[in-house]
Subunit: 331 residues, 2 copies
């Protein structure tokens, strides 16, 4: 029965809307899960992203999740497929060229998934947008009319829910908060985008590590940097202070521009907790002084690494809020 499932409940057999297959495609790992209409993650599976053939890895992951020997009949009992994938991509077609998956350049992800799941709706969006949607649907952003959801990780990305609805922008690229300027002048650090001083050059995980190493800290990664900061290493502490202050200053400006109710910050670097959030909150309050910003708050993401899967599912399950009308392939 396409789109519905039969469930035994208290001795009665009821017919309900079927769960959604949610997929989260990143440069280091692939995740897939079954999400029910309430947003509960029923089960999930993860594998490292195979550099040579990501599609084969994704196919195996889906088969494993669906407890199937292969992909035949895998669409049965699903109401749709929602996918978060690293950008850039042509959207809504979802021809994807994820920065961290060199094997995919202009890869027609939605078309291939549409063929795998013949007839089911397949909706693909940027992975940071899915995180923002997930947090707005069921996490720290719930109830906010206007929200910036932000991911601070290997990169700095985000998604915008404005007046209760996802704002994707004309090309599907709205939410790129990492390219607002955080440092000025000709010596500001060069960003991957080609500009100087973007927030991403200050706040992405590798930038914190690099900044601390250039000042004598000697460790492998952001996790070690957070541990060092917690143990009292002043350079490590200053790295988080600098990143948090830059994020707070930039999102204060965004909150004024968009009259935001709330900003939610997640991602690997946000795991550092107070190390990042104390300077972030201080800078946010220092820079957001317009009266209508008094109600605006910054919150830590609540859904953890599953936000991406839950948000991907929401593209289908709560499409009235999180998927713009007229952007499905057969519309």
């Amino acid at each position: 029965m396409g789109g519905t499932v039969q469930v035994a409940l208290g001795g009665n057999l009821i017919v309900t809307r079927a769960p959604v297959l949610a997929i989260d495609i990143g440069g280091t790992k692939l995740a897939a899960g079954l999400v029910d209409t309430e947003g509960q993650l029923l089960r999930q599976a993860r594998v490292p992203t195979p550099a040579d053939d990501p599609w084969a890895g994704l196919s195996r992951l889906v088969a494993e999740l669906m407890d199937s020997d292969g992909l035949a009949g895998v669409a049965d009992g699903l109401s749709g497929v929602g996918v978060g994938c690293g950008g850039p991509m042509r959207w809504p077609e979802a021809e994807v060229s994820p920065l961290n998956i060199p094997a995919w350049r202009g890869f027609p992800l939605r078309r291939w998934l549409g063929e795998m799941f013949g007839g089911l709706p397949v909706r693909v969006h940027n992975d940071a947008i899915c995180m923002a949607i997930g947090e707005h649907w069921l996490g720290a952003g719930a109830g906010a009319r206007s929200l910036l959801g932000m991911v601070v990780s290997t990169g700095v990305g985000g998604g915008l829910v404005l007046d209760g609805h996802l704002y994707s922008g004309p090309t599907g690229n709205a939410g790129h908060v990492g390219h607002l300027a955080a440092e000025l002048g000709p010596d500001a650090p060069l960003c991957g985008c080609g500009a100087r001083g973007c927030l991403e050059t200050v706040a992405r995980g590798p930038a914190l590590v690099e900044w601390a190493r250039a000042r004598g800290w000697d460790g492998p990664d952001g996790v070690a940097l957070a541990a060092a900061a917690r143990a009292g290493d002043p350079v490590a502490g200053e790295a988080f202070e600098r990143a948090g202050s830059a994020i707070g200053r930039v999102v204060a400006g965004v909150a004024a521009l968009l009259d935001l109710d709330r900003v939610v910050v997640g991602g690997g670097i946000a795991q550092a907790g107070d190390l990042l959030f104390d300077p972030l909150q201080a800078a946010f309050r220092r820079h957001l002084r317009v009266d209508f910003g008094e109600r605006t708050t910054v919150e830590r993401a609540a859904l953890g690494p599953e936000a991406g899967l839950i948000g991907a599912a929401a593209l289908v399950l709560a499409g009235d809020r999180y998927w713009p009308p007229g952007t499905d392939p057969n519309d």
Copy 2:
């Protein structure tokens, strides 16, 4: 006939939708005009804003425009009233407290206008938002799906049209582009909002004049500063260079964040033309390097000082795009 008028056309009498009364309320002048359904300004009148009693001045201006001895019957032949007014205000109630009109603090502008024009729809929004709407409806922003319209004048304000519709924000304050950070550090100039380094502290007209005076230029105002820059005064030239670069850098970040098609810049300081726009365009291109920003352009406002009146009229005449559903007083 409320909302319609009879027009003689080629020997036939036709009934058409009546024009809108548009009002633009600023700290130095009050303007009012009649705008037809095509956005043509049929006639207009202006007076200096009386500091002691702005409401009396506004009433006289409306009576003069409507060619009436008083306000009796002034609503006849109108289909509504659209108003742009300096902020801040409680919106959509339009209890206004314009920074530059100290006599009005929490003044119930919409209610009083509603009583003056009994029964007609009265819609009030921020004056910078009206400018942005006017430029999107009939000016340099026409056809853009997503637009920032910006006013660089005594202050720096703006309005956002996203996916073809005005985005007002939960409290009606979206578009405040003047409070994104343009200068960093504890010595950055203090903004009227209480924060340091806001774009407004660098790009508002009085800031340019003050900056140039602190470096030895000796003149009265922004118009003189532009003339000096054009005559080759290096300090005057650098004042516009500095403001244009700051605007370009900030709006590049906004264009990435909101996936904008276009930015339109108007207001008194924008009258300086190339002096402002050359460094603005250069900084914009230098800072907007994401691939989806290649199509994004910055344009000069096209409607001149009448943009505010035309945009105010559009609140009523094109309310499906420029007035959020459910925000009229009797909804």
